[in-house]
Amino acid sequence: MGLLSLSIWVPIAFGVVLLAFGRDEQATAVRWVALIGALCSFLLTLPLYSQFDNTTAAMQFVENLPWIERFNVNYHLGLDGISFWFVPLTAFITVIVVIAGWEVITERVNQYMGAFLILSGLMIGVFSALDGMLFYVFFEATLIPMYLIIGIWGGPNKIYAAFKFFLYTLLGSLLMLVALIYLYTQSGGSFDLAKWHALPLGETAQTLLFFAFFAAFAVKVPMWPVHTWLPDVHVEAPTGGSAVLAAIMLKLGAYGFLRFSMPIAPDAAHTWGSLMVGLSLVAVVYVGLVAMVQQDMKKLVAYSSVAHMGFVTLGFFIFNDLGVSGGLVQMIAHGFVSGAMFLSIGVLYDRVHSREISSYGGVVNTMPKFAAFGLFFAMANCGLPGTAGFVGEWMVILGAVKFNFWVGFASASALIFGAAYTLWMFKRVYLGPVVNDDVKALTDINAREFLMLALLAIAVLAMGLYPKPFTDVMDVSVAELLKHVAISKLN
């Protein structure tokens, strides 16, 4: 079994073992097993980095075994510079989520931890699948644990949110399924992505495929105007669920654009690229404005996620290497920052049981350590230089200016909205005098919470100060992708 397979199946195996655990009397054991499982799977992804050769755009760590021979479906895994970073990122966030749920989750602990570990393995599977059907299986299977996570441990309106999440994303994926089967027949019976990339396709076919994939990935990202499920789901999901959703699950969609839409239907991608840029700009500008008027902290961060993911798709569809690499860096950075934002909200929610901005004020007086982290992550969310948030946005804006000055101008001005809503929220929650007894009674974060936020803060800072390891891995693959996308498949 290769390293990549281990990264996928070790967390799943731990998750299954956890499900077999008994009731909540064994909760302590369950937590430790979950932590060991998450750490194991994270440690397994580290050799991937040391062995990764970033001078080639070829797939690495390739494993290719026949899986369903009748349909010529293969268990075909591999990583290139585009997918590489999401594997350790997923495993890292899973460790954080296990730590975050340590004391907070007291009911059905084994199922909670098990669901997250299984979800982690499945998501790594999505990022490393090189076979269309394998990709689809992992992509869809992630819905099941997430549905249960939202529905079991969620807030008061959890059932509505769980259904909305499942059905919205399922609708998109089902249309993608038809597209996959169509490609299978067109390629003479193959689900191999590399073959699909080389497949000549007519204009109509490309357009239909592009929009079938758009249905799946745009909903997942989510792009405006199909983003409405995200705020509802974030508000109801438990803290860990929100963190994983924002940090990784949204990236599945953006990743799909790079792996499927652009290389398989390059002409359609160019034709409809301006539409995608337009939708991304709407997400960045309009949704940024929407975020500003939110009363609920989670909703605010959710809308801010939509806006930040708008930068990602904007970067992709301006078709230059700064834009695409910038989008990828932004995806990783957003993984750390949005994860941290949701976990911080979780810290407050666990104490006060409210996410309304108006229930807080002057938190800095009672929770100074926590407020320091809060300030740091707020700065990262605005894209302050020196934090992870800055690198990606800056690259995308540079790329956008190259593409068209006014697109670049519009996206850059949106940074102001990002700063406005983040800082305004920070001011209302943390600064000023203590407003009520709830805030007066707050206790500062304990060692566990400190550890979890510190790990994320280190990641954000490291990436902001020295993004070279991240971009180095991507460069060759991104250049190769753009070269491929630039060649028309017509005639």
Partner: protein, 496 residues
């Protein structure tokens, strides 16, 4: 004079029949309330028969026996093997339930099930219209009796009445269609029928007239719209142990006679029956899924979901012949339909198994709300039920996804625009379907339980149910073997 080949083709059937009669007699001396001896003997017989069928299927030979009356081929033998296993599994689940409801005063539950299985066997391996009809009647008559097994229960007797009247009508349709075919071609032999129709010497108007009645009869037996009205009533009214039986294995037999009659016998008329199947499947997908949403009774919901699932099977059946080309796509399409039916039966057994398990003495657990908080009462059974629900909804990695995938693939691969449209339609309908399956999961996992009692089950039920649920997942992780099996046997049946 009966030759050896004839015996080879039917020896499992003969074993089954002899043992059914013997067990009927032996049962007279059994006193235990759970009919232990009868149960063990029945299980042994079914196991022997299943092994024998698997053995024949693996050998992979096609035999025609009794002057072409019966055929033994790999597809039929596998279907018979699966049907025998399905009946075994249903009996394991059904026994404690039946014992609590005074349905085991005699051993009829066992012998009627064996006779019904015999009927299925005859249907599956018949190569003659009359024999098909006899098998069908043997199956349905046993089923009517099974539904009425709780004779003092009003709902069950009403269901039996409905089932009988509508079933008899369907049989009448089928018989009428068969007589038309006989009148047109002068033969009851399915192989001869095919030859005679392909020769083009037969008047098409009589044939098509007969075909309409055949398809209507088959549609009744499969339970697809607009001949579906008996399904929800019978599923709901019958004792759950019997619902399990009529909702499981007979689907395999119904599929087999569709293949034998439509594909093996009437393939030259494919362009006619494909249109009918298309209408039937559109109706089934639409009405089955929409009506299932409104149900509060789980058995009724599953009944409507069955209707929509059978619509999917029809999609597979209808995509085999494209523009008069009966070779290129046939094996792929029919094997996808076969795979669909087999996995559907596997999943259905587990869902009804859990319903049976939760039904305690004097309390039928069949409202969806009865499943509230099952996860807290028994995580294992909730997991089995959830696995099945996701499978029926077609979410990977459960096996139901691959069933849907292979049918959709058969539609798309044909390259016909209308089939592509059907694929998109089917996909949208599965989205509606996902809603009510998800609701079942929601009730089990998100709602608070009404009672705190844990669920206890006899060891055999627990083991079989766990295996059954696990198989739904395991076959999803490794569907290749079963798919290859279906493809190989269908190819052999088509003579390719």
């Amino acid at each position: 004079m009966i030759d050896t080949i004839s015996w080879i083709t039917v020896y499992p059937e003969i074993t089954l029949m002899v043992m059914a009669c013997a067990i009927l007699l032996i049962d007279l001396g059994v006193k235990s309330p759970l009919r232990g001896l009868t149960y063990v003997l029945t299980m042994l017989t079914l196991a022997v028969v299943a092994v024998a069928e698997a053995h024949l299927a693996v050998a992979g030979q096609t035999y025609y026996g009794f002057g072409n009356m019966v055929v033994s081929d790999a597809m039929g033998n596998w279907l018979k093997c699966f049907a025998a296993i399905a009946v075994m599994v249903s009996l394991v689940y059904a026994r404690p339930y039946a014992a609590h409801r005074d349905m085991l005063r005699g051993g009829e539950l066992f012998t009627l099930n064996m006779l019904a299985l015999l009927g299925m066997f005859v249907m599956i391996s018949s190569n003659n219209l009359l024999l098909t009809y006899m098998g069908l009647e043997l199956l349905t008559l046993s089923s009517y009796a099974l539904v009425a097994l709780r004779r003092d229960n009003v709902a069950a007797t009403e269901a039996a009445m409905k089932y009988f009247v509508l079933g008899a009508m369907a049989s009448g349709f089928l018989l009428y269609g068969m007589s038309m075919l006989y009148g047109a071609t002068g033969t009851l032999d399915i192989t001869q029928l095919f030859k005679s129709i392909s020769s083009g010497q037969v008047r098409p108007d009589v044939l098509v007239f007969g075909l309409v009645f055949i398809v209507a009869g088959l549609a009744f037996k499969l339970g697809v719209v607009p001949f579906h009205m008996w399904i929800p009533d019978v599923y709901q009214g019958a004792p759950t142990a019997v619902t399990l039986m009529i909702g499981g294995a007979p689907k395999l037999a119904a599929f087999a006679i569709c293949i034998r009659l439509l594909v093996e016998g009437l393939r030259p008329l494919a362009s006619d029956w494909q249109q009918m199947l298309m209408v039937l499947s559109v109706g089934s997908l639409l009405i089955g899924n929409l009506a299932a949403i409104a149900q509060t009774n789980l058995k009724r919901m599953l009944a409507f979901s069955t209707i929509s699932q059978m619509g999917f099977v029809l999609l597979g059946l209808m995509s085999g012949v494209v523009q008069g080309d009966a070779v290129t796509f046939a094996a792929n399409a029919y094997s996808s339909a076969m795979f669909y039916v087999v996995t559907y039966v596997l999943t259905t057994l587990a869902t009804f198994g859990v319903i049976l398990l939760l039904s305690r003495e004097g309390f039928e657990s069949e409202e969806i709300s009865d499943f509230a908080g099952l996860n807290q009462r028994s995580p294992l059974y909730a997991a089995v039920m959830a696995t099945c629900a996701f499978s029926l909804a077609g979410i990977p990695p459960m096996v139901g996804f691959y069933a849907k995938l292979s049918v959709l693939q058969a539609l798309v691969v044909s390259g016909e625009t209308i089939y592509l449209g059907m694929a998109v339609f089917a996909v949208l309908m599965s989205l509606i379907g996902a809603f009510y399956y998800l609701r079942l999961v929601k009730v089990m996992y998100f709602d608070e339980p009404i009672t705190a009692t844990t669920v206890n089950a006899p060891a055999d039920v627990r083991v079989v149910l766990s295996i059954n649920g696990a198989l739904v997942l395991i076959l999803g992780l490794a569907p290749g073997g079963l798919m290859a099996l279906c493809a190989a046997s269908v190819r052999q049946m088509l003579g390719m």
